[in-house]
Amino acid sequence: MSEYAIEVKDLCIHYKGLKSYSIKQNLLRGKKNKAEVFEAVKNVSFNVKKGEILGLIGKNGSGKSTMLRAIAGIFTPNSGSIDLHGNSVSLLAIGVGFQTELTGRENIMLSGMLLGFTEEQIKAKSQEIIEFSELGKFIDQPVRTYSSGMHSKLAFSITAILNTDIMLIDEVLSVGDARFKKKSYKKMKELITDENRTVVIVSHETKTIRELCHKVLWINDGEMMRYGDTEEVLTAYEEFMK
């Protein structure tokens, strides 16, 4: 077992001009569709030790979420490498993926299976998820009938209870109303500080980052600005953002 849980080396991610087009446009303009290349992440390298908590900061559009998605395997890097050493990984972001026509209960099963859990494991935990989400009888209603609060509560509960070795958290540390916020933040803190869990947090709240993270990586327009101890990087970041 390697010391590191996440190893990222020279990571580059491009968005090519993959705009969708219509057939008519294509015929009129001829074959040539100019592809603009937008570099979202440029040459970023860092390692996260097992059990470590890494904060990821930077202004909007600087490539934080893109990087999280790459680590989660949603798309592969254009160059460079990401090695997770076989750890299971989940991405918690606003509005976790549901099939809205299906009920909450069915979505728990399907989300769990996509995260790599077996049906037995999910069944064993689904009661806990339903209780934590406080959805009550709505759990057997289609997700499309949920309010946005219920939606995020369910999403949060699934990721919190069906936890993976590596958790990638995109801005969501707590959801719901004041009371649920407190409860979910507590749960999240418990999960994050677990010694065996490796966590990457994206947040704009320097207060939370300061409280939770061991190390911080600051990226700006896809480039690494600073990487190191929390206090040091945050001070520089706050100075920069003024």
Binding site: S20, S22, R69, Q99
Partner: protein, 260 residues
């Protein structure tokens, strides 16, 4: 690629299965007649077509209602799966952008769901065969390879539609039109060999859907052996389509999230 494919299928097979089951359940959860629609829908279409083509246009096929019903069931499976697969990545955006899985699993899910509906229809075909007292021969066993070929063919085509559907906005219109045209070239409710004199024979061999439909009819209700070589050929072509389609998706699926 094969290794990756086997690994992925092992990991996501149950997912596609459970997902299909849930989708089927949700489809009928809110309607009055529930799952009866799966039976009622093709049954009514069969009655309409039987009336129009059997009565108004005086079609003379033996066991005409079964003839139509077999055609409709298989056609619906193909048509539904293909038209759905064009928009399937966009429709599942919320999942696609949150977790990685091979995108052809989405098609697999629809193949199970639509295949299930088709099997219900074939259960009705069996009932109708009993009512019409159709003589049965060993040739009915061709049922299995024919359906398998249809399934592979559909899956292979759907892979390509899924891929291009992500980038080409109006592909859905083109697919709808094409499918309508193929529908008439397939002889779902008439015998193309008799009705289209010159090219009918050729269509029956070179339009895979027409070939599969007529083979199914021959084996089930007319007790004939279908053209095995042609069946084998189309099986091989379908398999090739699947391999190419899956390869295409593996190669390109990374950029799907970036473009939806």
């Amino acid at each position: 690629m094969l290794k990756k494919f086997i690994h992925d299928i092992k990991r996501y097979f149950r997912y596609s299965w459970v997902s299909a089951r849930s989708q089927l359940k949700s489809e009928v959860a809110n309607s009055y007649l529930n799952w009866i629609w799966w039976v009622l829908d093709p049954l009514c279409f069969m009655l309409i077509y039987t009336f129009i083509f059997g009565f108004v246009f005086q079609s003379s096929e033996q066991y005409f209602p079964i003839y139509i019903f077999i055609g409709l069931s298989m056609w619906d499976f193909l048509n539904r799966t293909l038209t759905e697969s064009v928009k399937i990545v966009k429709r599942n955006k919320s999942i696609v952008s949150k977790v990685y899985f091979p995108k052809y699993i989405l098609i697999l899910t629809r193949v199970w769901a639509n295949g299930f509906k088709m099997l219900i229809c074939f259960a009705i075909v069996i009932v109708m065969m009993i009512i019409f007292q159709v003589p049965i021969s060993w040739n009915v066993l061709f049922f299995i390879p024919i359906l398998l070929t249809l399934g592979l063919f559909t899956f292979g085509c759907a892979c390509f539609l899924l891929h291009y559907g992500v980038y080409v906005e109006d592909l859905a219109n083109v697919v709808n039109l094409t499918m309508r045209f193929v529908f008439y070239l397939t002889g779902v409710f008439y015998n193309i060999e008799k009705r289209i004199p010159v090219v009918g024979n050729a269509l029956n061999s070179y339009n895979p859907v027409a070939f599969l439909l007529s083979s199914m009819r021959e084996s089930l209700i007319y007790g004939k052996t279908p053209n095995c070589w042609l069946l084998l050929l189309w099986f091989a072509v379908s398999l090739l389509l699947c391999v190419l389609g899956i390869r295409k998706i593996y190669k390109e699926e990374n950029s799907y999230v970036k473009s939806i």
